[in-house]
Amino acid sequence: MVFAVETEQGPGLSRDSPRLDLGWTAPLALTAAVGVLICSVANAFARAGSEPTEVVFWLGVLLIAAPMFYRLSSSKATAGERLALVALLGLALFGVKVVRDAPIFTFSDEFVHAYNVHQIEVHHHLFHENPIIAVTARYPGLEGATSALTMLTGMSTYAAGTIIVAVARVVFVAALFLLFARVGNSSRAAALGVAAYTGTSNFLYWNVQFSYESLALPLFVFVLLAVAERDAAWPTSRRAWAVVIVLGSAAVVITHHITSYALVVSLVALAVLYRVLKVKRPNPWPFAAAAAAMCAAWLVVAAHQTVGYLWPVIRGAIESTLETASGGAPPRTLFHSSAGKVGGTPLPARAIALLAVGLLAVGLLVGLRRIWRERTWREPFPLLFVIAALGFFGALALRFAPAAWETGNRAGEFLFLGLAFVVAAAAIWFLRSRESTVRRRAMVAAALSVLLVGGAISGWPWDIQLSKPLAITAAGSKIESEPVAFARWARRHLPDDGFAATQADARLLLEPGGLRAMTGSSPDIESVISRPYLEDWHLPLLRENHLRFVVVDDRAVASDTLRGYFFTVPGELETSVLPPGVTDKFRRLPLGSLWDSGHIVAFDTENRP
């Protein structure tokens, strides 16, 4: 085993110890809380339009993580302390996202899933239609779980969703720690592996939004842990772990499509590796077969829309990659934001992101060397992690193809699991190669901090790392942004007869509006709204989709699912507006208008002479 010579307490939490020593957990919880507070202060300044607050924000993030990284690199920490610290690390970094919230959902997929929860509350069953991302209603694991909390407690979807994602985050880091500890036989390396995983580009924000993957990914890692535990368990306990694997796989299958496919691929790969490496222990192929069968059954019975949802994305990624590779299309500009010049990532931030990639590459090479020398690759799990680690850099290349960026980014969060393991092997070698001095530990902590910050920079647009004003105070009163105010007004006054709206407005109509709203290009609602003239098919399209109300928003940023919800602040976000014809075409028809707030005008297609 690559980490077998570690002198500390082994992979698990010892049952022989009469006391569970949590060591530095309490002081580090205090520093982490102060870090979250600093992030909250930075967001508060950002909402008030003060500049610059990014430096303060990143200092807060570092205050959360760097001391923990330093402690996790120590050989003196017990396994229990490490487990407590990685749980604290995961939770505190989730806190960074929470204090960025408004407090309403502001991430593009959150509105969609919150609407699904509303539908469960209203109809008392699953699988009710989702008008924006239809496939989400066919994977109801997250929404079903959230409905338990909203119904039992009466709390809002936002609060319930935040709690669910928080629990899922703790499960994720704890399961990852125990998985790495089991596979690598070292709690120190396991903790460093979890620390390295915080460097994946989706860790800080994307993977903790209220979205199905935020629950599915932790369950995915939990299932892998159960497979590893079953492999190492006494024969009498194997059946128990088998139950855990099957139930966990079922939960993943009904929660998120991509994660369930990743689970099948991982289990099949493990089964093949067990065979190829001639492992004497029981091959996990029955679980791979069961997961594949459940995936296929779910796809056929409940979620056949998934093919139509995912295939265009995959096809686009393939075509874009081939075009870019053959020189037929220019490569995507890294750190480019659709928000134009105000959304650009500053040079120092780009440097940190690139430095993080460089550190990962060095970690990969060093880690691979250690794994090769110590022959750890002869075990299925380490070899799977090595393959994933190599695959990560392949996925990284997809970021240069315009339409493959998202595919590469999403694949990266699975592949990074392997990379984190390999990087941890490198870190352990570095710490062990000579006496583990304070300086070496500080260097490891600094490198992990660079990974965390660099990953976050490359995974989320720079201009919206911090919150934007969604609600502000004027003359002692709280006022909300224009699209939020309209959504709340529509909820109070209008029947749920269907709304056609631009991306941001439609999402707000789903949540907090709780109303059925359609947007996007399939059907082509965006054209109906954004064109300055009316075409023959526009009104019939609205009728076909039972959309009585049309919400026209002339802000260009309204079509941006990340930035369209906030107050317009000159110099911060896109402030250009669409031509007047966009609104006037409906006035000329003429249609009755219900609401006019300057940028947003709502029309009633049934209110006409």
């Binding site: 049952r15 022989d16 569970l20 949590l22 309490a26 205090l30 102060v34 507070l37 992030c39 909250s40 967001n43 508060a44 008030a48 229990g80 806190g95 919230d101 008392h124 699988f127 109801p140 694991g141 929404e143 079903g144 779980a145 409905s147 338990a148 909390l149 119904m151 039992l152 407690t153 709390m155 709690i163 669910i164 629990v167 703790v170 499960v171 704890a174 125990l178 629950l215 932790p218 369950l219 939990f222 842990l225 306990s237 128990a240 939960a251 009904i254 004003p469 004027a474 003359a475 009163s477 006022i479 105010a485 317009t568 000159p570 219900l594 609401w595 006019d596 707030s597 300057g598 209110n607």
Partner: protein, 258 residues
């Protein structure tokens, strides 16, 4: 505490939590009851049922309890969908899952080869020094302040304010409800001009502070036959009576419901 007694208390706790979560009138109390019922007890029961007399270390045991609870929540919605998803059915399902798991676990403990009378190996105990406890409490307090701060809105002088004008038909097509809400950064004065086709204008001047809303219920003149009556509401900023600042239009049909 012996394991079988722990399982008994878990069932008892699940039942109390289930009743409180469904029947208690206060949301905070329901939240306190629902959290262990949703996120810990079902997984704890399932762990006991599946692992029986096998001893797991505390870390894995805790993880299994939380993770399997998430698994059961995700799958539970699917099961309940066939019967109806309500607070009561959720509480019943979670209590039943906990009770079933703990019962099976207790039976497996009782029938296992290892007699229960054998002294179990020592379990690690929490060692919380007073200083650590104080720091943990301080950490929780600071985190709470951070979350509260995130919900506070501040002045943002550069943010562009707006004013919304809206109009809805009143009952029976004889009136309209017109509202003006100000989300401007400063107090503004307005003139509202509502013109029903064939009738005289109804004009109202008023002043709104930021965050204020003014709603007018205006009676319309009697319409001619079954023809919809066009009603135009125009909002002007005081002193700017040229182009309307905001405008909405409604065709009010006789007998139109609210």
């Amino acid at each position: 505490m012996t394991r079988d007694r722990g399982l008994f208390y878990a069932v008892l706790l699940a039942m109390v939590c289930g009743v409180v979560a469904v029947l208690a009138p206060w949301v905070p109390l329901r939240v306190i009851a629902a959290l262990p019922l949703a996120f810990f007890l079902p997984g704890y029961g399932l762990t006991a049922a599946t692992f029986g007399p096998a001893r797991l270390d505390r870390g894995r045991e805790l993880l299994l309890a939380f993770a399997l609870s998430l698994v059961l929540l995700a799958l539970g919605g699917l099961v309940l969908s066939a019967f109806g998803i309500y607070a009561g059915t959720w509480a019943l399902l979670l209590v039943l899952l906990t009770a079933a798991g703990c019962t099976v676990g207790t039976v497996r403990l009782a029938t296992s080869a290892a007699p229960l009378t054998r002294k179990p190996p020592p379990r690690p105990r929490w060692r919380l020094r007073r200083r650590d406890g104080a720091m943990a409490l301080a950490a929780i307090a600071i985190a709470a302040v951070a979350v509260i701060l995130s919900q506070v809105s501040f002045k943002a002088g550069d943010a562009e304010g707006y004013t919304a004008l809206w109009m809805l038909p009143g009952r029976g097509g004889t009136s309209v409800e017109v509202g003006v809400s100000s989300a401007q950064q400063t107090p503004w004065s307005y003139v509202l001009d509502v013109r029903p086709a064939g009738g005289g204008p109804i004009v109202r001047s008023f002043h709104l502070d930021p965050g204020d809303e003014q709603v007018f219920r205006l009676r319309l003149p009697a319409g001619s036959g079954d023809e919809p009556l066009r009603v135009t509401a125009s909002l002007y900023r005081e002193g700017e009576r040229g182009r309307p600042y905001r405008q909405v239009v409604d065709w009010v049909s006789p007998g139109e419901p609210t």
